[in-house]
């Protein structure tokens, strides 16, 4: 069959016409595609190149290692130990469900449900590329198992990090404090947080030296730029900027003495401070009971924390610096010096003590009901006669006493890199008018003269006071010996501007307290001549014994419930001829200073002066059996820190 030519020709014309229209449209569309290419690839190229780089390049922070802390001999106080942890990066989980990954991981290693819950919360909060810790302090075996299984666990990375460790545990808890993971509260307090702090569970100092010297210890973050693929896996490292490790800090404390002090206080609610009289270096500073800071590093459990809060001996606050107590008779040196300096009394002048003093129609009792009879300065301190000081207070007036107290380091805040250092309280007339809205009464002065009433001081302040009495200079405490190997300045202080003869009178009397047969601390004396100490006992009332109690015949401390018993205090310096250390001890509700505090202070003093366990010959013969037993007990409780822990510092 042959088609009609006309039909074919016509149809050919039509097809040609139509296909030219279609071809033209196609050409136009291809032109559009070309223009689009030009727009994307030429005009917008720079922007897209940037986006591509943003895609492929991740900037990762390299956390710096935290500065370590050493004692004065270069022994470790706080160190960083490797800790294995399992982290998860949300972005890298990819198509799998987060829960599924966590579940699979749970089949390989045991996960703590609490930690997982916390991690889930973190995962919701943080940016997708931030690693979140799923399990901390994982054993090497578990880490290896996870490492082998990573292909089945997208986003999961076994990591080696550094974690803070305090080898001496509770001994330094109150001074060094501890580090912990950054909390939201921490972040709120900082205006422009370091990017490091945004890493979940990054450890920062929470309290104590760790917190106050955070800037020194933290160091600077390094960073590395890595090329990652779409799944977030690192393909190669492009470059890295090394961070700066935190600077090491050396403290003035002595590990051995610190541990001994902490051990000696154990079982009591007590605090002790040992200070170098000359330099102000704190050699030991303990508060009992204590707690293990390593628990806080890990994140303490609610139950453990509650137990610490509920303990009536209050383990958490640092009693040596935060705790303030009526100093009791240890304040008498201040009153005496104030009176002597004011010239209202002569060292040899006697005051008659009938057992009480009547001041403006009120009877103020001496602790010795029967009275001391005629007392001069020397005897008043040695036997701690109260009436002598009542009389001195009436003669001198509170403001001069307060002035002397401040001179000796009471009622002022000593600057130390610790979270809270209490200023205590030395009352003046002005103070009472402004804060109590009441006039100062003579009775207030009388109370203050024996360190009762409004007077409050911390064990640290009492140690400073004792050191200043011993040296005659306004020495100030120092906690940090060196930072990054650079020795920190020592504040030996100015001469106190107190007549040296008067100071000698005081020191003689303090000598007698400890070494005179009639001294209140004679039983806790030191036999070794080269290390004899001069001290002062103190017993401060927590509250007055009521008339009703007196009527019932409750006189003795032992009959009262613990929390209403007197505080026992003792301050001393030694050796007498060339004072080296000043010590102050307080035993909360311990009863009498001579009985509860002085023996502890004596033991610590000997330990410090001998630089280790003192021979029994240094103790009074009658005590030796008991001391031997005590030394054995302490040895068992606290094995002497081996010198293997000595580190380069």
């Amino acid at each position: 069959m042959k088609r009609p030519t006309r039909d074919t020709a016509e149809s050919h014309k039509l097809i040609t016409r139509r296909s030219l229209v279609v071809g033209g449209s196609m050409a136009a569309f291809m032109g559009l595609l070309g223009l689009r290419m030009r727009y994307l690839q030429v005009e917008q190229a720079d922007q897209f190149r940037l986006l591509a780089d943003e895609n492929r390049i991740n900037i990762q922070l390299i956390p710096p290692s935290r500065g370590r802390i050493f004692d004065r001999e270069g022994r470790v106080v706080a160190e960083n130990v490797p800790s294995y942890r399992i982290t998860l990066i949300r972005e890298q989980v990819g198509d799998m469900e987060l829960d599924e990954v966590i579940e699979r991981l749970g089949q390989i290693v045991t996960l703590d449900p609490n930690e997982v819950e916390e991690a889930r919360a973190d995962l919701r909060k943080v940016r997708g590329d931030t690693p979140v810790t799923l399990a901390d302090r994982v054993s090497w075996e578990d880490i290896s198992r996870v490492a082998v299984n990573t292909p089945a666990l997208p986003g999961v990375t076994p990591e080696v990090g550094l974690s803070r460790h305090y080898p001496l545990g509770p001994d330094y808890a109150h001074l060094i404090g501890y580090v912990g993971p950054v909390s939201d509260r921490d972040l709120e307090e900082i205006d422009a947080p370091d990017a490091l702090l945004l890493i979940p569970r990054f450890q920062i100092g929470k309290i104590g030296l760790e917190s106050q010297r955070e800037d020194t210890l933290r160091g600077k973050a390094g960073s590395k730029r890595v090329e990652v693929n779409a799944a977030g896996r690192v393909m190669r490292e492009l470059d890295r900027v090394e961070g700066e490790a935190g600077a090491d800090i050396q403290v003035t404390l002595d590990n051995a003495l610190q541990s001994y002090t902490a051990a000696r206080l154990e079982g009591e609610s007590a605090a002790a401070v040992v200070m170098d009289c000359e330099t102000g270096d704190l050699l030991a500073c303990a508060s009992a009971p204590s707690f293990d800071p390593n628990l806080f590093v890990r994140g303490i459990s609610v139950a453990n924390y509650r137990a610490l809060l509920d303990d009536k001996y209050r383990p958490l606050p640092n009693k040596a610096m935060q705790g303030v107590y009526p100093p009791g008779s240890t304040f008498k040196m201040v009153t005496a010096l104030a009176a002597l300096e004011a010239g209202v009394v002569d060292p040899n002048e006697t005051v008659y003590c009938p057992g009480h003093l009547r001041v403006s129609n009120r009877r103020f009792h001496c602790w010795k009901r029967a009275g001391h009879g005629n007392v001069d300065l020397h005897r008043s301190l040695r036997e701690s006669c109260d009436v002598y000081y009542y009389e001195m207070a009436v003669r001198t007036g509170i403001d001069k006493i307060a002035e002397m107290a401040n001179k000796l380091g009471l009622g002022i805040e000593h600057e130390l890199p610790l979270t809270s250092v209490s200023a205590g309280l030395i009352p003046t007339k002005l103070w009472k008018e402004t804060s109590k809205n009441d006039d100062w009464r003579v009775g207030d002065s009388v109370n203050a003269s024996i360190g009762q009433g409004f007077v409050l001081a911390s064990p640290l302040q009492l140690a400073v006071m004792t050191a200043r009495l011993a040296t005659g200079r306004s020495v100030s405490p120092r906690l940090v010996k060196s930072v990054d190997g650079v020795e920190q300045p020592v504040n030996r202080g100015e001469p106190l501007d107190i007549n040296e003869n008067l100071l000698r009178e005081i020191r003689d009397a303090m000598n007698a307290v400890s070494n005179n047969r009639r001294g209140t601390a004679y039983r806790s004396r030191i036999i070794e001549d080269a290390f004899r100490m001069a001290g002062k006992t103190g017993t401060s009332q927590v509250r007055n014994i009521t008339a009703a109690e007196r009527a019932r015949g409750v006189f003795r401390n032992e009959d009262l419930p613990w929390e209403r018993r007197d505080h026992a205090l003792y301050v001393n310096f030694a050796p007498i001829e060339a004072p080296k250390i000043a010590v102050s001890v307080i035993v909360e509700h311990g009863g009498g200073g001579s009985k509860a505090a002085a023996p502890i202070a004596r033991d610590i003093t000997l330990q410090a002066l001998y630089g280790g366990e003192p021979p029994l010959e240094a103790y009074p013969a009658a005590d030796r059996d008991r001391i031997r037993e005590q030394q054995e007990r302490l040895r068992r409780a606290r094995p002497v820190a081996d010198d293997g822990s000595r580190d380069r510092a």
Binding site: K2, S19, L33, M37, Q41, A45, Q47, N55, N229
Partner: protein
Amino acid sequence: MSYLEYSVKYTPSGLQKIFYLNWPLIILLTAVASIGFLMLYSVSGGSFSPWAEPQMKRYVLGLTAMFIVAMIPIWFWRNMSVLAYIVSILLLVAVELVGVEGKGAQRWIDLGFMRLQPSELMKVTLVMLLAAYYDWLPLQKTSRPLWVILPVIVILIPVALVLKQPDLGTSILLIAGGGLIMFMAGVHWAYFAAVIAGGVGLITAVFQSRGTDWQLLADYQFRRIDTFLDPATDPLGAGYHITQSKIALGSGGWTGRGFMQGTQSRLNFLPEKHTDFIFTTLAEEFGFVGAFSLLILYALIIIFCVVSALTNRDRFSSLLILGIAATFFLFFAVNMSMVMGLAPVVGVPLPLVSYGGSAMLILMIGFGLVQSAHVHRPR
């Protein structure tokens, strides 16, 4: 039909036909396919496996198929049109029953040695049937309603089956391809105006149906449209494809980042980098120069086809060549628009370049028909 319909001066026969093939077209096709090999080699990180080598083998297979098809006279193929169409329809139905599920859609029949995608086959057989239909239909009847409805039904049957898989991309290509042949065959303008108006109405209806129980598209298709309209709303979710693809394209710049240096593809930011999104790898590594060159090659293929069609006096041949060319055009135009953010992501491969067995083989068979029409044109 045969040469008897025309007054012919010369007819090539036997192996002589090889000299009468459209050789420039074959060279162009091979050039485009070679670009494909190069890119597949690059996206697999400089390795012939797993993509470049099988693709080359398939191209050789496709080329062989093209030669065989080209050797057989075009009127044989015209006579086979109805049968081919019916077989395709049956395969589409079979895919519903025994098809292999892939990416949420039933699209394949596993033949053992290869996976056959009947919807790909449909693209060629539909063109054949429509060309044969308009060749058979006297010209004056072309625009009569009854004779317009018939080809529309022929188009809509496979479209319905493909939509059911569901494969929106191929359905659109079938409608557009069929429509273009009808237009070129001379159907009256008014029908197309009406259909376009109706299409706009339908699109409106589709969007209106969203969320109701007579919803016309699957959720993932709606989401693709959403993210096409505004990819920035969900850069890590459904908009990821478009965003990353634009980044790859754009970062190529004038001359690209260099062969095998494209970070977007090498680091897996690009989705489907060896199939639908392979163009972005090309654009990233060879820049505007490379991407535009590919566009030029495609344009040349279209031009050679159109020239071949317009110099062919046989109506079936002309329409067949134009239809194959139109389908080919729609393939790369939709794919490029998609990766450049001009169209929603509808899963259309880049012809001859994207990795994929049946698509390439069937496309080469299509060009075999073009060659056959070229060789056996009345002279």
